[in-house]
Subunit: 448 residues, 2 copies
């Protein structure tokens, strides 16, 4: 016999999203006199900073995901609930899930992150690839490999852009993706003797005049120089004006034949924010108080990429993991202070600095002024990046595998996960066999 | 500029299937005076013996796959072609692929393996899970996890079989799957405090009177005892008579409420065999000569799971990796002998023995009589199994990861890949976003 999950009698905190912010809330409340339910549409946390490595075959898809129950099972007052949020009823204090059930809450924390925004540019929504989920990363990886396969046995299409990959946006995501793609080409050159004379290339466009805009001038100059030296066709002051299946039109009027547009040109808060019925900012973010809750609903918190200008800050904080983690901890602080009848302190972001990787032996790291304001680039920046990402990657097994894989990749230049394990193939498999009522899975009797 | 792939001028061998057999053919011909094209619908080799570990979260999906181009790029005369075979034109000597292109051949080797056969039992084809591909393994893993999630938050469905898993067939695949599932339960018990009182169980049915039928009596007794001791509800002399979405009907008339039927009760040759226009045997296999080619077509070879009774043998060889590998090598021998004007020797299978794993510290291994006929069971059999599978797993990186993961799993009892990364979720993602012409991928603007 199995006992039904009781509705918690203690103060019940529902946290929507098991990203950096949501997990930080749960961790921060692990010994508090509250019950926490962490809701996510996936049963795993996605370590988004490494998705570009999945997309470029450096890491396997499962290396950057870690099951949420495995993370929260150490905390006796934290439960996990698999589900997608359909509707928020702030007055009735309920979160309605897509399976018809509703979770009652005393406090609610929205930490559902961001999605990519297309800035209204035609075709981007339909044709661009993004890097927000494990599925998107493996889909992009498979698409890239498929372009090489197509180019290898369809010589007549040589000119039509199979091997030209356009990246929109030269922020950290775009830069990391560009560097990793160029390194993947090196491996693929050996894989495809048919393409010995071909020149796969990365075209990176950026509407502003610089790469890595938030960084200092020396770091930006280093990054730009390194990208160009590694063969990236970097076009500054240029944006995408239209995306089509077989070409990308740029703002300078030129047309790049390409079947792959990777969109790294800006995010928007998760559309869940718009369903709060509160005016959001240009990036879709929700304004919050300096305690990170809605002005009208002190029990409803919004953190991370979804949070707009908090309290007296002048502008929203950057949409990065550190902000989400610190905001998550702060919500924990506010809730515990309230339970204890104390006044919570206001949220202040403690900027530690920023880091990005351009490729093998080439990273950049800038410490915040409060931490000395140091700057590393090159090999040292690269080591710093690897070290910090290993520390934050959840799951011992993932850490061991990622570390081993990085050492292996560094020594051999290999990228082992060059597997065309993609949506197209999966969808085709699903279409060949009938599905069950409750899921959608390929079954027997399909030809190999 | 890119050069078009030239049509080989040398004797051209087309090998269909990059499984154990197909890869053995390619390797065996690597220095021969022929050109080889290896065709597969996937760009990777699937190491089928470890799929049950992917299905039970022990290994990641990418750990058991290895890109074919990475394997064959060492061999200058071997090329890879991604594609699915649509039609075979033996007289015109062409293999027609699903992308409309045709590969001309001088010699053809069919090594496309097997699929599961349902023996005509109603509902099996629609509702059973199988373990032949990486997609099927991750789909099964996700389905198992989904049952636990459903049981955790739908207490009213406690009785309707979410946590009962039926395995049909107690051969090596069924036994390995049963043992691994029971070990996964141990981890899931910690993941799901909501299910503390629940008893997930494995019901294994087998129409014959024994588990592991091909093994000796002592090994069979050990395996049966070990399975029962580990909690598997083993029902011998019982088969499946009907499968439905929420229950499985057994041949003894009993009904097991269950949403998961795992089919390990027999395979059939790849249906490609039937398209040869030659009479196939009961298992769908193609009769071949003692040189492993069709009697009427000396240039068309059939090996591995697709090959029927060869020459003077009394019955088909078992459908295992060793047979496929030896047959693949033999086809290489025959082709090289023909090129040199020598008489090839007939194929003889050198049986080395067999091994299977029941779970942690419990394996069975029997050496063939020619190798001394030794028998190991328990910890020694388990170590032997791990060792042999590591040796045969293709890809250094895969070997390192699998070894590391096994050590980790053994020490911690953990199963790190408890990720619900499944077809249902992917199909839903694909449905939410429009697809490109040439693939099927989720894009921007989806809520997290």
């Amino acid at each position: 016999m199995r006992s039904a999950a009781p509705i918690p009698a203690r103060h019940h905190v529902v946290v929507v999203g098991a990203g950096f912010g949501g997990l930080a809330v749960a961790r921060s409340l692990r010994r508090a006199d509250v019950d926490v339910t962490l809701v996510d549409q996936h049963n795993y946390h996605t370590f988004q900073p490494l998705l570009y490595q999945v997309a470029t075959a450096g890491l396997g898809s499962e290396d950057v995901a870690h099951q949420v129950r495995g993370i929260v099972r150490k905390h006796r007052n934290v439960r996990f609930r698999l589900g997608r949020v359909e509707r928020l009823d702030l007055d009735g204090r309920r979160v309605h899930l897509d399976d018809g059930q509703a979770l009652p809450f005393d406090s609610l924390v929205l930490a559902a992150g961001s999605v990519y925004g297309d800035h209204g540019i035609p075709g981007v929504r339909e044709h661009a690839f993004v890097l927000k989920s494990v599925h998107e990363a493996t889909a992009l990886r498979s698409h890239v490999l498929r372009q090489f396969e197509a180019a290898a046995h369809e010589p007549e299409t040589a000119a039509d852009g199979h091997l030209t990959f356009v990246i929109a946006g030269a922020g950290p995501t775009g830069v990391e993706m560009a560097g990793a793609l160029v390194e993947l080409f090196r491996v693929l050159r050996q894989d495809y003797p048919e393409l010995a004379a071909a020149r796969p290339r990365v075209v990176m466009v950026e509407p502003t005049g610089t790469v890595l805009a938030p960084y200092g001038p020396r770091t930006r100059a280093y990054a730009e120089r390194t990208l160009r030296r590694r063969g990236v066709d970097l076009r500054l002051r240029t944006g995408v004006s239209r995306a089509e299946p077989h070409q990308v039109e740029l703002s300078d009027g030129s047309i790049v034949p390409s079947r792959t547009l990777i969109w790294a040109a800006g995010v928007r808060a998760n559309p869940l924010a718009e369903r709060l019925g509160i005016e959001v900012d240009r990036g879709g973010r929700v304004p919050v108080t300096e305690s990170l809750h809605l002005a009208e609903h002190p029990d409803v918190f919004v953190i991370g990429d979804m949070a707009g200008v908090p309290g007296s800050a002048e502008r929203p904080y950057p949409q990065v993991a550190q902000v989400a983690i610190q905001m998550g901890k702060h919500v924990g602080h506010v809730l515990k202070a309230r339970r204890a009848g104390r006044e919570p302190r206001p949220f202040r972001y403690a900027d530690r600095g920023q880091m990005a990787i351009i490729g093998r032996g080439a990273g950049v790291a800038e410490l915040a002024p409060g931490l000395g304001g140091g700057r590393f680039s090159g090999f040292l920046g690269w080591l710093a990046w690897l070290f910090v990402h290993l520390i934050y990657l959840p799951g011992h097994q993932n850490r061991v595998t990622a570390f081993g894989t990085w050492v292996y990749n560094f020594l051999t230049y290999d990228r082992h996960a060059r597997l065309l394990l993609d949506e197209g193939e999966r969808a085709a498999a699903a279409a060949r066999a009938p599905a069950r009522a409750d899921d959608n899975v390929p079954r027997l009797d399909r030809a190999a």
